[in-house]
């Protein structure tokens, strides 16, 4: 239902055409270029989600050297179909369908209790869905194909308190066939966490660092991080985020990270999922989502003017300049006083307006197997 035909703008590919054709909106990619790769100079650009939409990727995302680690076109790290989870107190997630293309760093954003942790638990077989299903690299969560490829850092970051740091890393070594001791020790050493210290004696931040080391050392193809940064100081947070992006870029790891630090997500994410009230509100590449919205200046008071053909997501009149964040329904002409929203502004608008119509970009839409094969064929023949 949420994914029901609310196309980005008209037909697939149309959004890119219009954004490209628009006057000021055409400037957005430059802005993206400046902010996004700040922490990730080595990040391999995301691959084309759909071969027929090359304009989407003009936003400077091809900066990476394209060293060939990118997964094949069309592979999904996560694919959810009509996913729902009902607890005793009600639905935590309801009828969520999306796909996360492999190789992306995806931010998962939503208010508290929106279903973020539930979604992550579903992807790692900690929770079983009530309705629908979810696949990790095409395999059922919890299966022998998906478990070694997925690492999950839960919000509580549980560790054995009586183990030493070295023993905790040994746990990772003993239980993971692809364990990378160098990566894990590197992360621990960078924080000067003594290997002989018991986990119970470490500070919260140090413990988080060890939990990170355990997740990275597994060398997963899909890394799921639930509020990973909440108890870290700003310096450590930046350092670990840099590690995250560097590792992800080097190994083509897909990352799904939930966070309330909206500004920081902008540094690491090139993909976005927004959940509110158990439903998916936004899904797609950061660039295409930003390009599909604009902040319109609407001076003066009085009744809110019609902004057709755009859809108002949130009208903010009190704070800062009066105006509205709109989803574009047509190219913007230069006279309209429109500026591109930052990721934070975009997210805040959607978090404040949980009833706004949802927007699922083409690359995040699930198709049946025919869609995937058809895309591949097109990619080959194009």
């Amino acid at each position: 239902m949420i994914t029901a035909d609310i196309t980005l703008v008209g037909s697939p590919g149309g959004a890119g055409d219009r954004v490209g054709a628009g006057g000021r909106v055409g400037d957005f990619p430059a802005e993206v270029d400046r902010t996004q790769p700040a922490l990730s100079p080595t990040r391999t650009g995301p691959t084309l989600p759909h071969a027929q939409e090359p304009h989407m990727d003009q936003a400077g995302t091809h900066r990476g050297s394209g060293t060939g680690f990118a997964p094949p076109v069309g592979e999904s790290a996560i694919e959810a179909h009509g996913l729902g989870k009902q607890y005793r107190r009600g639905w935590a997630l309801r009828d969520v369908s999306f796909r996360l293309p492999a190789g992306r760093v995806c931010g998962l954003v939503g208010p508290n209790g929106a279903g973020k942790s539930t979604l992550m638990g579903l992807a790692t077989n900690m929770i079983r869905p009530t309705t629908g299903g979810l696949r990790v690299f095409g395999a059922v969560p919890g299966s022998t194909e998906s478990v070694p490829r997925t690492a999950f850092l839960t919000q509580e970051k549980p560790l054995f308190r009586r183990f030493t740091v070295a023993e905790t890393l040994r746990l990772g070594r003993e239980l993971n066939p692809q364990w990378d001791q160098e990566v894990a020790e590197g992360i621990v050493d960078a924080g000067r966490v003594p290997l002989k210290a018991k986990i119970g004696t470490l500070s919260g931040g140090q413990r988080t660092r060890v939990a990170f080391a355990l997740a990275f050392g597994k060398r997963p193809d899909l890394l799921i991080l639930d509020e990973p940064m909440s108890d870290l100081d700003p310096l450590v947070r930046r350092e670990l985020m840099a590690t995250l992006t560097a590792e992800a870029a080097q190994h083509g790891t897909t990352v799904l990270v939930s966070s309330h630090m909206l500004a920081e997500l902008e540094f690491i994410c090139d993909y976005l999922l927004v959940i509110a009230n158990g439903g998916l509100r936004l899904a797609g590449e950061v660039n295409e989502l930003r390009a599909a919205h604009a902040l319109l200046d609407i001076p003066g008071g009085g009744p809110f003017p019609a902004v057709a053909p755009h859809t108002v997501i949130e009208a903010h009149r009190a704070e800062g300049r009066p105006g509205a964040l709109v989803r574009l329904g047509a190219p913007i002409t230069s006279g309209e006083g429109a500026t591109p929203p930052t990721l934070e502004e975009l997210l805040l608008a959607y978090l404040r307006s949980p009833d706004a119509p949802s927007l699922i970009a083409p690359s995040a839409r699930v198709g049946d197997i025919h869609d995937i094969t058809r895309d591949r064929q097109k990619a080959v023949t194009a």
């Binding site: 999950f152 509580e156 183990f163 023993e167 890393l169 070594r173 993971n176 290997l195 193809d221």
Partner: protein
């Protein structure tokens, strides 16, 4: 520089020459889930091993005392020296203490086993590694179960060895009591494994360590009560009778050595083979003649007694252990089936 995702040079965990600082402690060389389970529960395992060794040392010492005493006083016609009582009472009270072993394994080893991991969240930590839930759960149950089986088997064997010199001599030691029946042969192994499985299942369902321990305590006590009532029905009760009358001079039936009398005392045996309760004609017992007439009118020809011979002990223990192991296996199957699907 590029690094492949599965660079073999980076992923050779076994080949690391340096030993992790945590692994210097004494203990078996283990890998994979076995290492994890040993490391996580090593304090409990070492305690179990130490207590077993301590009990064995004490029993060997006490047996030495019994043997010395018996050697100094050679047996005369089946009777025992009067002050021998102190040795037999030590034996039966020690057997009583060993009877608490199943309670301890259930409450202290079984209940916290899975509940601890669920409570602290470490179950999520382990299941998000590459190892399957099934393997982890199996190892988690198998390693403590193996240690429990080993230690209870050793305790049972040593206790049996201590008991053997006086087994046929002391009529005061009833082998049907829990202090002997439950702590020898295969019984303690099966009993302890059953309570361990019960504790683990309770812990998995309740997910809180302390609550699980309390509930397990209650369940194990309930099992104990049921088992105490049920134990003797595993045997096949034998009867021994006389046909020389029931007068004052008539001989009472004699039980074989090591047999334990069952039923309500001694019965009257009638000529038809039926048995009468010893209270028959009790109201006429003041008058010898009336009493005799009463008994004769009922065709009483002698006494009869029920007993369980000690030769049945091992059969009964096998039966009881088999039942307990079957229940334990059912519980373990439940833990694994449930745990695979709904552990977290």
């Amino acid at each position: 520089m590029t690094t492949l995702t599965h660079d073999p040079a980076h992923t050779a965990p076994a080949g690391r020459p340096q030993n992790a600082p945590g692994s210097r402690q004494a203990g078996p060389r283990l890998g994979g889930t076995a290492w994890l389970v040993w490391r996580q529960h090593r304090a409990a395992f070492w305690t179990l091993i130490a207590l077993t060794v301590l009990c064995v040392v004490v029993m060997v010492f006490l047996r030495g005392q019994v043997v010395d005493y018996l050697d100094a006083r050679p047996q005369k016609s089946g009777g025992l020296p009067p002050d021998f009582e102190q040795y037999t009472s030590r034996l039966s009270s020690f057997g009583g203490y060993l009877g608490f072993v199943p309670l301890l394994t259930g409450v202290l080893l079984g209940a916290p086993l899975i509940a601890g991991d669920l409570e602290s969240g470490t179950a999520k930590l382990v299941t998000s590694q590459s190892v399957s839930r099934l393997r982890w759960l199996t190892m988690k149950l198998a390693m403590p179960a193996a240690l429990i089986a080993l230690s209870t088997a050793v305790l049972a064997a040593v206790f049996d060895w201590w008991w053997s010199p006086v087994k046929g001599r002391a009529d005061t030691l009833e082998w049907t009591s829990g202090a002997f029946f439950d702590v020898t042969w295969v019984m303690p192994v099966a009993y302890a494994l059953l309570t361990f499985a019960v504790g683990a299942a309770v812990g998995m369902l309740l997910r809180r360590t302390l609550v699980s321990m309390v509930v397990t305590l209650g369940v194990v006590v309930a099992i104990e009560v049921v088992w105490d009532r049920f134990r003797l029905s595993l045997g096949h009760i034998m009867s021994v009778g006389t046909d020389k009358g029931v007068g004052p001079g008539a001989a009472r039936p004699e039980l074989p050595a090591g047999a334990v009398q069952q039923g309500q005392g001694t019965y009257f045996l009638t000529s038809s083979g039926a048995r009468l309760d010893w209270t028959a004609c009790l109201d006429k017992v003041d008058n010898d003649r009336a009493h005799t007439a009463c008994l004769e009118s009922k065709h009483v020809i002698g006494w009869s007694m029920d007993y369980l011979p000690i030769s049945q002990m091992h059969t009964m223990q096998w039966l009881g252990a088999g039942i307990m192991l079957a229940v334990a296996a059912a519980i373990v199957t439940f833990i694994i089936v449930w745990g695979r699907k709904r552990l977290l």
